[in-house]
Amino acid sequence: MLTIADLNVRYGAIWAVRGVSLTVAEGEIVALLGANGAGKSTTLKAAVGLVAAVSGEIALAGEAISGRDTEEIVISGMTLVPEGRQVFPSLTVAENLRLGAATRRDPQEIERNRREVLDLFPILAERSGQAAGTLSGGQQQQLAIGRALMSSPKLLLLDEPSLGLAPQIVDDIFDLILRLKARGLTILLVEQDAVAALDIADRAYVMANGRIVMSGPAAELSESAEVASDYLGMAAEPAV
């Protein structure tokens, strides 16, 4: 579904992403892990064209999309739920959702899609007329995901969905990601909470200093003490 090959991105003199290659197959949840500043968010932003890559090839469902505008990439079926949720605070919940469907023309399809999103997040129906900025963090995350789903994506990129949320709410969000997978959505998940992410992911990549340093099935990586201690900043269990 998504292939990134030898991606390089820099901000001024600093190389944020160096030679990153990864793939996400249809129907998978792939986790992209790593400490703060490892280059995970930049990889996602480059994938959707929000930051320009110095070099590298990006293909979505076999079609090369490197160098295309964000707007075109969203229309081709990939969108990003940005870090920190970034709902439009002064717009209402309903208006945020409507903008999510801005690329779509058929009012009936948009309406059907809106119902599906509201089924998935009943709280958004309750808060429909309220300014998005007045929602709680967890509700804003639901709105941010719901808004992204309104564009009817095939591939959803999620940037740190657990950031700043209470543990209980984080569980809800991860449950939701599994439900989205069950509905046939392909997901690339960037997370600092490696344990939670590896729990729901099929495969994972670990980034450090802009490079991919490990990859493999999620189950294998979660057993690896190396991942825990070296790259994810967790207290490692002594290896047996």
């Binding site: 964000t70 229309i75 208006e95």
Partner: protein, 295 residues
């Protein structure tokens, strides 16, 4: 009492024009972080279109909409030629660009048209006066208030009911995420300039309806006032621009009406003193909190 009502009519009429201009500045600023001082030159351009259309024998009712169209198209053209290359540059770069554009246009008007004021022939009805048993108000002022109200309501509907309108509000809050909605950055910015140019044109027609002449510097003062109004209302806030414009209009008119003759020369200074006082108390303007422009 009749005098007070007359002055209130004048205050609403002037405030309405300031409000239209202030929104034009705010709509571009909220999205690009650009304070477009070339806005005044657009007003002047509207005036010259009216002059030439009249010279060509065109009736005012056709000339006015034509002048609006040309002003709107020119605003979009300015964006393409002058502002797109500096998009995303620092605020100072964009500000200087807008000054440069304003000066160039002004010089062009002086060189190719005339430095002297040109008469804009107006239909007789605009210069008539309505008498409401004791208090009188010019038809041009009444029309000015009505047009301002209608335009503000229409703009409000556009921003609330259409996807493009929603996108404009969203882009003012977070430009990158608006692009993630699949909305073209270029469209949003072109729309901002189109709205801004249309409002400058409407404000110019209303302004000229009360003066019946146009000169190369015509737009300069009203746009400076509109800038004061946007600051007063809260820079970048459209609602603030409306309130700032109305308030500035009211301050100017009531001061001119009620100051003792000896103090009249200080009307401008007193107006700005009041504005400064408001900003000391509310640095974010009447409608806060102030948001930083994205980009």
């Amino acid at each position: 009492m009749a005098y007070f009502l007359e002055q209130t009519g004048n205050a609403l009429s002037l405030g309405g024009i300031y409000a239209l201009l202030a929104i034009g500045l705010a709509v571009v600023y909220s999205i690009l972080g650009l304070i477009n001082f070339a806005h005044g030159a657009l007003m002047t351009l509207t005036g010259y279109v009216l002059v030439f259309a009249a010279a060509a024998g065109m009736p005012f009712l056709i000339a006015a909409p034509l002048s609006l169209l040309i002003t709107m198209a020119s605003a979009m053209l300015l964006e393409r030629i002058a502002f797109r290359p500096v998009r995303g540059a620092s605020g100072a770069t964009m500000l200087l660009t807008s000054f440069a554009v304003a000066v160039l246009l002004q010089l062009a008007f002086q060189l190719f048209i005339s430095t002297r004021p040109q008469i804009v022939p107006l239909p007789a009805v605009l210069t008539a006066t309505l008498d409401f048993g004791g208090f009188a108000i010019g038809v041009n002022r009444v029309i000015s208030v009505i047009v301002a109200v209608v335009v503000l309501l229409a703009l409000n509907q556009f921003l609330k009911r259409t996807v493009l309108g929603l996108a404009m509000r969203a882009a003012a809050e977070n430009f990158d995420v608006t692009r993630l909605m699949g909305i073209r950055a270029d469209w949003v910015i072109a729309t901002a300039f189109a709205i801004s140019g249309l409002l400058a044109g409407i404000a110019a027609v209303l302004w000229i309806a009360q003066r019946s002449s146009v000169d190369p510097m015509m737009g300069l003062i009203p746009v400076l006032k509109a800038f004061v109004a946007t600051t007063l209302g809260g820079l970048g806030s459209l609602q603030g621009a409306v309130w700032g414009g109305l308030m500035l209009g009211a301050i100017e008119i009531y001061l001119a009406a009620y100051l003792p003759a000896a103090a009249l020369p200080y009307q401008g200074a007193l107006t700005l003193a009041i504005v400064i006082l408001v900003l000391v108390v509310r640095p974010q303007g009447l409608i806060g909190p102030r948001r930083e422009a994205v980009k």
